[in-house]
C-alpha cells in the first residue's frame, strides 16, 4: 500500500513538472510563431500589398488582438483539438498533424524495433569483451556514427544501397495502397540513419551499465556461490545493467524527432518532420506551432513513460528524491 502511494505521488510530481515544461514550451512556441515574426499579414501578403488588405487579413487571422487574448485562444483551442487554420492550405491544421504524426511513428517504430535489441546486444557484447578489439570496434564505431548528422549518413547510405547496389528504393514514398511489407521495404533505408545515431547512445549506455553491474558485489557473490556464468549474466547482471538504458531510450525520442525532420526531408516522407519543414519554408505559422507543440507533447509523454517504467522496475528510485 505504502509502495503504491509512493509510486503515485512520485508520478503526480513528475506529471506536474511535465505540465509546467509544456506550458513554458507553449509560451516559447507562441513567442516564436506569433510575436517575433512581427506583422503576420505583411509577411503573408508581401511588401507591396495595400496596407488596408494587410490590416484586414490581420483582423481575420485575429493577430491584431492583445497578446494575452491571442495566447489564450490559441492554447485553449489547441487543448480541445483545434490547432487553427493553415495559412497555406486554408484548412484546419489538425488532420495534417495527425496524419503526419502517424507516418512519423511508423518510421520511428521501424528504427526503434531495429535499434533497441541490436544496440543493447552491441553494448553487452562490448562489455563482455572489455578492452578487447571487439569492444573497441563497437565503442569507437558507435561513437563515430552517433556524432554524424543524419543527412550525411543518409546520403552515404542512399549512395551505397540505393544508387550503387540498387537494393533499396531511395525515396520513402511508397506506391498507393501498398501493403505492410511493401511499406516496410520502403522504410528500411530511411530508418537506417536514425538507427546509426541511436545505436551509439544505446550501446554506450548498455555497455557502461554492464561494466558497472559486472564489477558489483552482488555479481561477485553470485559467481562465488557457484552459479553458472549464464545464470549470473541473465538473472543478476542484465537486470541491473539495463535499467539506465531504458531512460536513455526514452530521452532519445527527442533526438529521434529532430532527426526525423532531416530524414523525412531527405527521403520525401510525409511525416511530422517534413510537415514542420514545409511549414517553416512557407512561413505557415499555425502549422509550424502545432507541429512543434505536438512534438513537445510526444517527448513529454515518452519521458513520463520512461520514468514510470524505471520506477516500477527499480524500487530504489521511488522512495528517493526526484533528482
Amino acid at each position: 500500500m505504502q509502495g503504491v502511494l509512493a509510486i503515485l505521488s512520485f508520478f503526480a510530481r513528475r506529471v506536474s513538472l511535465s505540465l509546467i515544461t509544456l506550458f513554458l514550451l507553449s509560451i516559447m512556441v507562441f513567442l516564436g510563431g506569433q510575436v517575433l515574426p512581427g506583422n503576420v499579414g505583411r509577411a503573408i501578403l508581401g511588401p507591396f500589398a495595400d496596407q488596408r488588405a494587410v490590416d484586414a487579413l490581420n483582423h481575420t487571422l485575429g493577430v491584431d488582438r492583445p497578446l494575452l487574448v491571442q495566447y489564450w485562444s490559441w492554447i485553449s483551442n489547441f487543448v480541445q483539438g483545434d490547432m487553427g487554420t493553415s495559412y497555406i492550405f486554408r484548412s484546419p491544421v489538425a488532420p495534417f498533424v495527425i496524419d503526419a504524426l502517424g507516418n512519423s511513428m511508423k518510421l520511428a517504430a521501424v528504427a526503434f524495433v531495429l535499434v533497441v535489441p541490436i544496440g543493447i546486444l552491441g553494448g553487452v557484447i562490448a562489455a563482455l569483451n572489455l578492452n578487447r578489439p571487439l569492444d573497441r570496434i563497437i565503442s569507437l564505431g558507435g561513437l563515430s556514427v552517433t556524432v554524424l548528422p543524419e543527412f550525411v549518413t543518409g546520403i552515404i547510405l542512399i549512395l551505397i544501397f540505393g544508387v550503387w547496389l540498387r537494393w533499396l528504393p531511395i525515396s520513402a514514398a511508397w506506391p498507393r495502397n501498398a501493403g505492410f511489407f511493401t511499406q516496410l521495404y520502403y522504410l528500411i533505408l530511411p530508418s537506417l540513419p536514425l538507427f546509426l545515431v541511436l545505436f551509439g547512445y544505446i550501446a554506450r549506455m548498455a555497455r557502461s551499465g554492464m561494466i558497472e553491474a559486472l564489477d558489483s558485489d552482488y555479481t561477485r557473490t553470485a559467481v562465488l556461490k557457484g552459479l553458472p556464468w549464464r545464470t549470473v549474466i541473465w538473472r543478476h547482471v542484465l537486470r541491473n545493467a539495463l535499467l539506465p538504458t531504458i531512460t536513455v531510450i526514452a530521452t532519445q525520442t527527442g533526438y529521434l524527432i529532430g532527426g526525423l525532420v532531416v530524414i523525412e526531408t531527405l527521403f520525401r516522407y510525409q511525416g511530422i518532420g517534413s510537415l514542420i519543414f514545409t511549414a517553416a519554408r512557407g512561413k505557415d505559422f499555425p502549422m509550424l506551432e502545432s507541429g512543434i507543440l505536438t512534438i513537445g507533447i510526444v517527448y513529454a509523454v515518452a519521458t513520463l513513460a520512461a520514468d514510470f517504467l524505471y520506477s516500477v522496475l527499480n524500487p530504489r528510485i521511488r522512495l528517493g528524491s526526484d533528482q
Binding site: P149, V163, G254, V261, F277
Partner: protein, 290 residues
C-alpha cells in the same frame, strides 16, 4: 586587496595541474588525430583558394555534371563548378559560424550556470524550468522556429544555435558550481563580504574551468552538426557559398540519376570534420578526467 592575493596564489597552485593536462593531451593519440583533422580543414578555410585548382564559384555549363577525371578530380556539379575546389573552400563558413555559436553558448551558459548554481532557491527553480522546457525539443527544431521568425542570416544562425546550446552548458556549470559553493574558499569570500558577482566570477569561475572546457569542445561538435543540418535544410548558410551542407542540399535531388560525386565528397568532408572535433573533444575529456 586580499582577494587579489588569493586569486594569484590560486593561479600558481593551478599551473601544475593545467600543465599536466596539456602534456597528457600531447600524449593522447585520439586528441592528436582529431586535432590534425580539424587543423587540416582550418588550413583549407584560411588558404584554400590558393591551392584550389579552379574558382569554386565559377560555372562552366558545357562541362556540367562531368564525372571525376584528371581535369576535375571530384567531377563537376550541375552548373559545371569544380567539386574539388568547392569541397576545399567549403569549410570556411561552417568553421566561422559553428565556433562563434559555441563561444556565445559558452559565455551565456557559464553566466547562467554560475547564477543558478550560486543563488539556488527561486532563481534556480525558475531558470531551470525554463531551460528544461527549452531542452524538451530538439535544437534543430528550436532553431528552425527562431530562424523562420527572425529571417535567415549567418548572425541569426550564430545567435540561435548559441542560445539553444547555452542551457546545456549552463546545466554542466551549475552542477559544478553546486559542488564548489560548499567549499571553504567560497565561505571565506562570503565572510570577507565580497559581492556575489565577485564570488561567482573571480573565486568560483577559475575552479570550474575544466568542465566548461570539456563541455565547450563537445558542444563544438554539435554546433557543426547543427549548422550543417540547418544549411542542408536551407535555413543556415546561404548560396552562393560553397558550404558542404548547402551543396548537398542543392545536388541530392539528382543522385537517383547516378551523379554520386556531386554529394559524396561534401558528405565525407562533413563526416571527417565532425569526427575530428569529437575525437579532439574525447581527448580533452580524457585529459581532464585522468
Amino acid at each position: 586587496m586580499s582577494a587579489v592575493q588569493t586569486t594569484s596564489q590560486d593561479d600558481t597552485r593551478k599551473r601544475g595541474p593545467l600543465a599536466e593536462v596539456f602534456f597528457s593531451l600531447l600524449r593522447s593519440r585520439t586528441f592528436l588525430v582529431g586535432l590534425a583533422i580539424v587543423l587540416f580543414w582550418v588550413a583549407c578555410a584560411l588558404f584554400g583558394e590558393r591551392f584550389a585548382p579552379y574558382d569554386p564559384l565559377a560555372d562552366d555549363i558545357i562541362n556540367a555534371l562531368a564525372p571525376p577525371s584528371r581535369e576535375h578530380w571530384f567531377g563537376t556539379d550541375q552548373i559545371g563548378r569544380d567539386v574539388f575546389s568547392r569541397v576545399i573552400v567549403g569549410s570556411r563558413d561552417i568553421l566561422t559560424v559553428a565556433p562563434l555559436a559555441t563561444l556565445l553558448a559558452t559565455v551565456a551558459g557559464t553566466a547562467l550556470g554560475l547564477l543558478t548554481g550560486y543563488f539556488r532557491g527561486i532563481v534556480d527553480d525558475v531558470v531551470s524550468r525554463i531551460l528544461e522546457a527549452f531542452m524538451a525539443i530538439p535544437v534543430v527544431i528550436v532553431a528552425l522556429l527562431a530562424i523562420v521568425a527572425l529571417g535567415t542570416s549567418k548572425t541569426t544562425v550564430i545567435i540561435v544555435i548559441g542560445l539553444s546550446f547555452a542551457p546545456i552548458i549552463a546545466r554542466t556549470v551549475r552542477s559544478a558550481v553546486l559542488a564548489e559553493r560548499e567549499l571553504d574558499y567560497v565561505a571565506a569570500a562570503q565572510l570577507r563580504h565580497e559581492s556575489a558577482l565577485h564570488t561567482m566570477f573571480v573565486e568560483i569561475l577559475p575552479n570550474v574551468i575544466p568542465p566548461i572546457l570539456v563541455e565547450t569542445t563537445v558542444r563544438l561538435g554539435y554546433a557543426i552538426f547543427a549548422v550543417a543540418t540547418l544549411s542542408f535544410m536551407g535555413f543556415g548558410i546561404q548560396p552562393p557559398s560553397p558550404d558542404w551542407g548547402l551543396s548537398i542540399s542543392s545536388n541530392y535531388g539528382m543522385i537517383g540519376g547516378g551523379f554520386w560525386w556531386t554529394v559524396l565528397f561534401d558528405a565525407l568532408a562533413i563526416a571527417s570534420l565532425v569526427i575530428g572535433v569529437n575525437l579532439a573533444a574525447d581527448g580533452v575529456h580524457g585529459a581532464f578526467n585522468d
